[in-house]
Amino acid sequence: MAFDQARDVSDEALLVAYGNGDREAARLLTARLAPRVLGFAARMLGGDRAEAEDVTQEAMLRLWRVAPEWRQGEAKVTTWLFRVASNLCTDRLRKRRSVDIDSVAEPEDDAPGAVAGLIEADRARALEGALAQLPDRQREAVVLRHLEGLTNPEIAEAMEISVEAVESLTARGKRTLAGILSGRREELGYGSD
């Protein structure tokens, strides 16, 4: 399957093709989905890259396993995958807390590197630090909505809650984020007004 043609093929069709033995479909799905799952997992796990990679690999493995039974039209691959990744992250966060609360990576929003420059990477790092301070469910809803670009109904399906609950979580999450980040507007190059 040529790359240009593959761009028009849905994730669901590619997954069914892989389920029928098409390895190229698996490669295309990996290129499309792995970065998204990795980004989501990294934010959910407070920037722990190694753990985020493990979650990504495990979520994709579960996708490969479900492929032969996948029926087009029943669910969206991205929604299904984010739900799996979300559950994997939740398990790891729970274990982390029960094992050693001190081992949780501290938010880096006070790190000197984040304050020094006004470049975009610093803002991204500040956002990551602020996201880490949100409750898990609020963080998940905000990341899916504003960083992964899912719609509220898709997030509701991924998180297995109602659309109203999604709206509430994102609203509260954004309010908290604004409170954390507004104090840093000047140092991050947004001016003081």
Binding site: R23, T30, Q57, M60, L61, E120, R123, L177, A178
Partner: protein, 131 residues
């Protein structure tokens, strides 16, 4: 009104942060991509090996049995076949029950002439030739 302005300002500020966050998304390492693809290959190969095995385990005989209703139906057929063999092999002593006595079961009731009319002439001829 002041609150609306504040919310709008917060949203605008957050949008800039979100934009920065999207631009700074982590890129999967080549090692991670290789691991994911190895899993995909492993699962595909495992499925390809499982399929033929499951087919060969269910052979022609099992497939046939499934078509006619499984092992209970086969057991019934085997019983019927055994009964057929027994009926064919058993001594026909009770044939009179079926024929109602029309046919005699005693060999002495028949003369050879009845089934071989030229036999006595043949015997006479043989005797004449031998003398």
């Amino acid at each position: 009104m002041a609150r609306i302005d504040e919310n709008g300002r917060d949203d605008a500020m957050l949008d800039e942060f979100f934009e920065a966050g999207r631009a700074d998304a982590p890129v999967p390492s080549s090692d991670l991509l290789a691991r994911i693809m190895a899993d995909a290959e492993g699962e595909a190969v495992a499925r390809e090996h499982v399929k033929p095995v499951s087919r060969s385990r269910r052979g022609l005989f099992a497939a046939l049995a499934a078509v006619i209703g499984g092992w209970p139906a086969l057991a019934g057929m085997a019983t019927a076949a055994a009964a057929g063999v027994w009926i064919g092999a058993a001594q026909p002593e009770a044939l009179t029950v079926l024929t109602g006595g029309v046919l005699s079961t005693s060999a002495s009731d028949f003369e050879l002439e009845e089934i071989y009319p030229g036999y006595s002439a043949y015997v006479t001829y043989q005797e004449a030739m031998s003398q």
